[in-house]
């Protein structure tokens, strides 16, 4: 079997207006199923994907925010959010959903894997990834 790689999914589009956010989520779920180390980065309009309270029932689309909440169960360990992108949009970490993570074998758990990072940290994280998928 091939080696495990560090996958980073870089999400820069708002949800609902285009299909990018949903397509990214599909590929994230597939990658996790193949036992790769999967992390997500949200920057620019991508930070809107994690805004809580979404309800697209009146625009005829599926609400996929609950799917982000399950990513911890798919062994996604990190969801990074670019601080400058949040600030430009008048948002703070309090406006975002929380995603819980737990290792079923060791029972190690993290209450919230959504982490706000500055630009320097984001650059380091992208640089340290083996592959970056852009959506």
């Amino acid at each position: 079997m091939s080696e495990t790689k560090n996958f980073m999914f870089l999400n820069r589009r708002a949800p609902y207006g285009t299909i990018y956010a949903w397509e990214s989520l599909e590929v994230v779920l597939i990658s996790a199923a193949f036992e790769q180390n999967v992390s997500l980065m949200f920057a620019d309009d991508g930070v809107y994907q994690l805004v809580k309270g979404s309800d697209p029932s009146e625009i005829g689309m599926k609400n996929f925010t609950p799917t982000y909440r399950t990513l911890g169960d798919y062994e996604v360990r990190h969801m990074y959010v670019d601080k400058a992108s949040l600030e430009a949009r008048g948002l703070t970490a309090d406006d975002l959903i929380q995603v819980e993570w737990e290792d079923w074998e060791t029972e190690e758990s993290v209450d919230n894997i959504v982490e706000v990072v500055d630009s320097a940290q984001a650059a380091e994280l992208l640089d340290a990834s083996d592959v970056v998928f852009s959506f």
Binding site: A14, G17, K52, P56, R89, G90
Partner: protein
């Protein structure tokens, strides 16, 4: 009579809102819909543009698109009005024409 301008792109990703505000006349109406509704929110880097436009134009945001994105009406820029789909039709009907800034 005047025109209804619609903006359906995020103001952070495209310059549709910016150009719409520069090239629309006083007295016209601007409807933000789809990803355009992000432009209706207070405290963003583009809020100043919209606030300036409100001096001589009406600005509306489509309610179902705000709701879909988890955007709270109470955090919109003061003066922006929420309309539903029926309100969108009323705006289209009451203006001379509809110009879409895609």
């Amino acid at each position: 009579m005047s025109d209804l301008h619609t903006v359906n792109k995020s103001p952070f990703e495209k310059n549709s809102l910016d150009t719409c505000l520069k090239l629309s006349k006083a007295g016209s109406s601007i409807l933000l819909l789809e990803d355009g509704v992000y432009g209706a929110m207070a405290g963003t880097s583009v809020a100043g543009l919209v606030t300036s436009a409100l001096a001589d134009r009406k600005v509306y945001a489509l309610g179902p698109d705000l709701k879909a994105r988890g955007l709270d009406e109470s955090r919109m820029i003061d003066g922006v009005e929420v309309v539903d789909y029926a309100g969108f039709v009323d705006l289209a009907e009451s203006n001379d024409k509809v110009q879409a800034w895609v």
